[in-house]
């Protein structure tokens, strides 16, 4: 909304942006990143989603109209850019507690203690990439800051990562910069968080957990890389709570989900990296944002025929308002993720089912009556302008969404089978599963290759020797 306004202002067309009361601070923060900190906004009192027609009418006619007129006819307040530090600048000197107090007070930390990012620590990280420290991987909205290799190293240190994780961190920020991902939406109100899926030999090389306890903190690589993601979103992209991060309910960062590639190889299913267009065996990261979902227990049976009905039922039940990403403004960007344990995937595969077969099954069985689908969008979430009949007639959405005018006809929640994603991880000997409810184009799946430095093996061996030495020294 503000980005459209900024585009108008840039070509000499004055704008007024309509902003509900609870979003004024977000608008102020976002406008700085757009380079127009004084872009005018018109207050809409309260929130339109909880007002009757009369209350809305009163608010708009008595308050908002005047603000719009003022926005378009009165000169805005003057602004002045504030000075900031530069890369490599030492911003504070002190002991561990003082450093951490400084970082919290200046909104540079997530509230947990950080590892002090000293030059020595940062340079240790930089040894693990062939890219130059000042190389810019992209510009991240909403703050419009450069995603530099240097800043990746600084935040990696802070998160408690080891230097050898640096190739993963660089790949992650490449993914964050990819326009298809849509990082600029990371502060939207449903408060989704990014899940990182890791593939390739690097899982074992760096000791990522990919078995029992997947998605649980307690494993340094999985946990610290997940924390790095959130710190980078905060410090470089600019998503600070009460400002650009408008999550109504957020949650702590997600730890990295590493796939069990041994289990996948045994049953002949391709890993997520292959689904994302890479070759099997390549080191890759895949990111996507999810607003919810959860675990479901005891997927029982001796084959796919017994297990799949429960899996499909659970995928469907975890997706409700998310239909807004199926039609309406989301337009086919919903990509639900189902995580199966090796035990479940092996039991399904024993029945001769490929991953593609499972996706086809989900596409055909995760369906709801058209009247219920429409109710989510029309009555419960008042999502904009859409019409299944018209959208099909105009070729905007697949025909399957309007094959008849029967309100009880069953419609899918995605456009095609390949919109489903399936990963394998977790306790190898338990038959539980996990579904992630996706956030559509506000965090669309993106994959990137992890590029290792030329002398990776030597550097890794040195890092391990150093860790062993430090461990002995502390004994």
């Amino acid at each position: 909304m503000l980005r459209a306004s900024a585009a108008c202002e840039a070509v000499g067309i004055p704008s007024s942006s309509l902003v509900c009361e609870g979003f004024i601070r977000q608008a102020a923060a976002t406008s700085v990143g757009l380079g127009m900190p004084n872009i005018p906004v018109a207050l809409v009192p309260g929130h339109v989603g909880a007002q009757g027609k009369e209350e809305l009418r009163r608010n708009i006619l008595e308050v908002t109209v005047e603000r719009v007129i003022a926005n378009l006819t009165r000169g805005p307040a003057a602004t002045q850019e504030s000075l900031e530090p530069v890369a490599r600048e030492i911003i504070f000197r002190g002991d561990f507690k003082a450093v951490n107090r400084y970082f919290v007070e200046n909104e540079l930390s997530d509230g947990l203690p950080i590892v002090p990012p000293t030059r020595e620590e940062v340079e240790a990280f930089l040894r693990f990439t062939d890219r130059g420290p000042d190389e810019v991987l992209g510009v991240l909205l909403p703050d419009s800051r450069a995603a530099t290799v240097w800043s990746i190293a600084v935040n990696g240190v802070m998160a408690g990562c080891h230097p050898e994780y640096m190739p993963i961190l660089v790949a992650l920020i490449e993914a964050m910069c990819d326009p298809d991902y849509g990082v600029e939406h990371s502060g939207n109100t449903p408060g989704g968080d990014t899940l990182i899926i890791l593939n390739g030999p690097i899982i074992k090389q760096l000791g990522f957990n990919y078995t029992q306890g997947a998605l649980r903190d307690g494993f340094l690589p999985n946990t610290s890389v997940g924390r790095f993601w959130r710190l980078y979103l905060r410090n470089v992209a600019g998503f600070l709570p009460h400002k650009n991060d408008k999550a109504t309910f957020g949650n702590t960062w997600r730890v990295v989900l590493a796939e069990n590639e041994d289990a996948l190889a045994r049953i002949g299913w391709e890993p997520t990296s292959v689904e994302m267009g890479f070759n099997a065996g390549e080191n890759t990261v895949t990111i996507a944002r999810y607003t919810g979902g959860g675990s479901f227990s005891s997927v029982s049976g001796s084959g796919p025929e017994q297990m799949l009905p429960y899996l499909a039922d659970s995928v469907l039940k975890y997706h409700t308002w998310h239909m807004t990403f199926t039609v309406s403004h989301g337009m086919g960007s919903l990509r639900p993720l189902l995580v199966l344990t090796p035990l479940i995937s092996e039991t399904i595969a024993k029945g001769g089912w490929s991953k593609r077969d499972v996706k086809r099954y989900l596409f055909e069985h995760c369906r709801m009556p058209a009247w219920e689908f429409e109710r989510y969008l029309r009555d419960w979430t008042i999502r904009g302008v859409w019409n299944l009949e018209e959208d099909v007639r105009l070729g905007r959405i697949p025909k399957i969404f309007y094959e008849s005018d029967d309100p009880n006809r069953r419609v899918p929640i995605v456009w095609e089978p390949d919109d489903y994603m399936i990963a394998v991880s977790g306790d190898p000997l338990r038959n539980n599963a996990y579904v992630f409810a996706h956030n559509g184009f506000l965090g669309y799946p993106v994959g990137k290759q992890i590029r290792l430095p030329r002398d990776w093996e030597r550097l890794l061996a040195e890092a391990r020797n150093l860790e062993i030495g430090e461990s002995r020294a502390s004994d």
């Binding site: 909304m1 503000l2 459209a4 306004s5 585009a7 108008c8 202002e9 070509v11 000499g12 067309i13 004055p14 704008s15 309509l18 902003v19 509900c20 979003f23 977000q26 990143g33 380079g35 127009m36 906004v41 018109a42 809409v44 929130h47 339109v48 989603g49 809305l56 708009i60 006619l61 908002t64 109209v65 719009v68 007129i69 378009l72 006819t73 850019e81 530090p85 530069v86 600048e89 911003i91 504070f92 000197r93 002190g94 002991d95 561990f96 002090p116 990012p117 000293t118 703050d143 800051r145 600084v154 802070m158 470089v236 403004h329 337009m331 008042i382 999502r383 904009g384 184009f441 669309y444």
Partner: protein
Amino acid sequence: MFNGGTETQYEVLWPRSQRQTRFKSLAPRLETLEGKTVAQLWDYMFRGDEVFALLEEGLKARFPGVRFVSWREFGSTHGANEREFVAALPQRLMGLGVDAAISGMGC
């Protein structure tokens, strides 16, 4: 890292990076909305259709000669194609002879 006494002392670096945008001037404001053409830009969310209808009513009461280009003309400003939409917007507005724009809904 340096030893400035009994506690280990740290010299720490800035975790942010340089902003890539400089502050820009806003468009000159209009003297009046009378006789002007105002574009309605909507992200197709949060009752913007009702809000724009009310704004039209309120603004026409004050400026009978104001004209509007409906949000229907533009389509949603938000969605999977937002970047392309925003990039093409200035040309579309100028082609329509728009003098000012109202953009919603930030909710």
